[in-house]
């Protein structure tokens, strides 16, 4: 059953207000979603006044500034800080993105930071992505071929076939797209979601893979695939500029024409 409102234990309360102590005139208010499993309270929004002059250019820099200087208990995932690892995916200013490549100067007014939408919160900005990882495993994201048994040299691919993977192999599985998709919010257990379907397409379209038909058959399911209604939130949010909506449409087209 689709539930549009948040459950009772997830309703957001007003949290603490941390005033800026530097006396700077260049202040940005940053609202951050907070929840800790050790407290039995509902999640809350803490507001931090941040001196932008003494802060790096990205949203992740703001989070580090808060963690280092104001509240060390703030929890978020991050690793590379260059938009390559996909750890710091979160909802910034209403759109899912990687906080390490999002400039806070692009955002007018207050800055709102939430965890990725419609996930079980582990702590603060960290959401539980285990369902998504299980679904990723279910599309068997590895090369399936028997050619390796017959020969000891590498399996070659023409430049045209290699080009078919462009726009798909770059996916870093940050889950920005899947967690932006309303269909995935309502049917997350059954619908695979844009990220996993893009990965599925990446292996379906790989010329070296020998199980294309089996892969297509596996994904051809009313719930797994056809819950995509081309809402396009996925493509709008992808921080790597990829197009999951197109990948899903390509799978649908392959199924319709094969």
């Amino acid at each position: 059953m689709v539930q549009f409102s948040l459950p009772q234990n997830s309703k957001i309360l007003k949290g603490k207000y941390y005033k800026d102590k530097s006396g700077s005139t260049n202040i940005k208010k940053v609202n951050v979603y907070r929840w800790s499993p050790s407290s039995k309270e509902n999640p809350r929004i803490d507001t931090f006044e941040i001196n932008i002059k003494e802060c790096g250019p990205k949203v992740l820099d703001i989070l580090f500034k808060i963690k280092n200087e104001i509240d060390p208990s703030l929890t978020f995932r991050r690793s590379c800080a260059h938009g390559v690892c996909g750890s710091c995916a979160m909802n910034v200013d209403g759109v899912n993105t990687l906080s390490c490549i999002k400039s806070h100067s692009d955002i007018k007014g207050d800055l709102n930071i939430y965890p990725l939408p419609h996930l079980k919160v582990v702590k603060d900005l960290v959401g539980d992505l285990s369902t998504l990882y299980k679904q990723y495993e279910s599309v068997e994201p590895w090369l399936k071929t028997t050619a390796g048994e017959k020969t000891s040299v590498e399996i070659q691919q023409s430049q045209e076939d290699r080009a078919k993977l462009d726009g798909y192999y770059e996916c870093i599985l940050c889950a920005c797209c899947s967690t932006s998709c309303p269909s995935y919010w309502w049917n997350g257990e059954k619908y695979l979601g844009p990220a996993v379907l893009l990965q599925a397409y990446r292996w379906i379209t790989d010329s070296r893979d020998e199980e294309r038909k089996a892969r297509l058959k596996k994904v051809a399911d009313e719930l797994k695939l056809y819950r995509c209604h081309t809402i396009m939130n996925c493509t709008n949010s992808c921080p790597k500029g990829l197009n999951p909506a197109k990948a899903i449409a390509s799978i649908k087209k392959m199924l319709a024409t094969s």
Binding site: F4, L6, P7, N9, S10, I12, Y33, W35, P37, N42, P43, N91, D93, G94, V95, N112, Y114, P115, L116, P117, H118, L119, K120, V121, V122, G127, D128, S130, T131, S180, P182, W185, H229, T230, I231, M232, N233, T235, N236, N243, A245, K246, A249, S250, K252, K253, A256
Partner: protein, 125 residues
């Protein structure tokens, strides 16, 4: 899932609307309205027969005009957005810029088409 008592992160409450998502939900709502209105119109036709008087008097009242113009718009909107969906099904128009342009075109086009339908129905054009 292990942490079933953990809160759910906000979704609809915080997610920003894009033209594409707005048109998608409008398409659904309008689809249901059109579906119901076709049934209602057909039922009316069965019940009162092709009584021209009823429809003419109805179309002169304010509510009648409002309903007729609204339906002109809802049908035009769905026709145009459905063309968009057909193009998507054939694999075209997924580029972000293109989808935004076709989205805006659908909104404007739906109003133009609605006015056109209304005037054609009124025998003005």
């Amino acid at each position: 899932m292990e942490n079933n008592n953990n809160p759910l992160s906000p979704h609809l409450q915080v997610y920003r609307w894009h033209i594409s998502s707005l048109l998608s939900i409008t398409h659904r709502i309008v689809g249901i309205i059109n579906f119901l209105s076709i049934i209602t119109i057909l039922f009316l036709l069965i019940l009162i027969g092709p009584d021209k008087n009823f429809f003419e008097i109805f179309s002169r009242t304010f509510i009648g005009k409002f309903i007729i113009i609204s339906l002109c718009w809802s049908f035009s909107f769905q026709i145009l957005n459905e063309i968009r969906h057909l193009a998507w099904d054939m694999g075209y128009g997924f580029n972000l810029k293109v989808s935004r342009i076709t989205g805006i075109a659908t909104i404007f086009g739906s109003f133009v088409l609605a006015i056109l339908f209304y005037f054609i129905g009124k025998n003005i054009i």
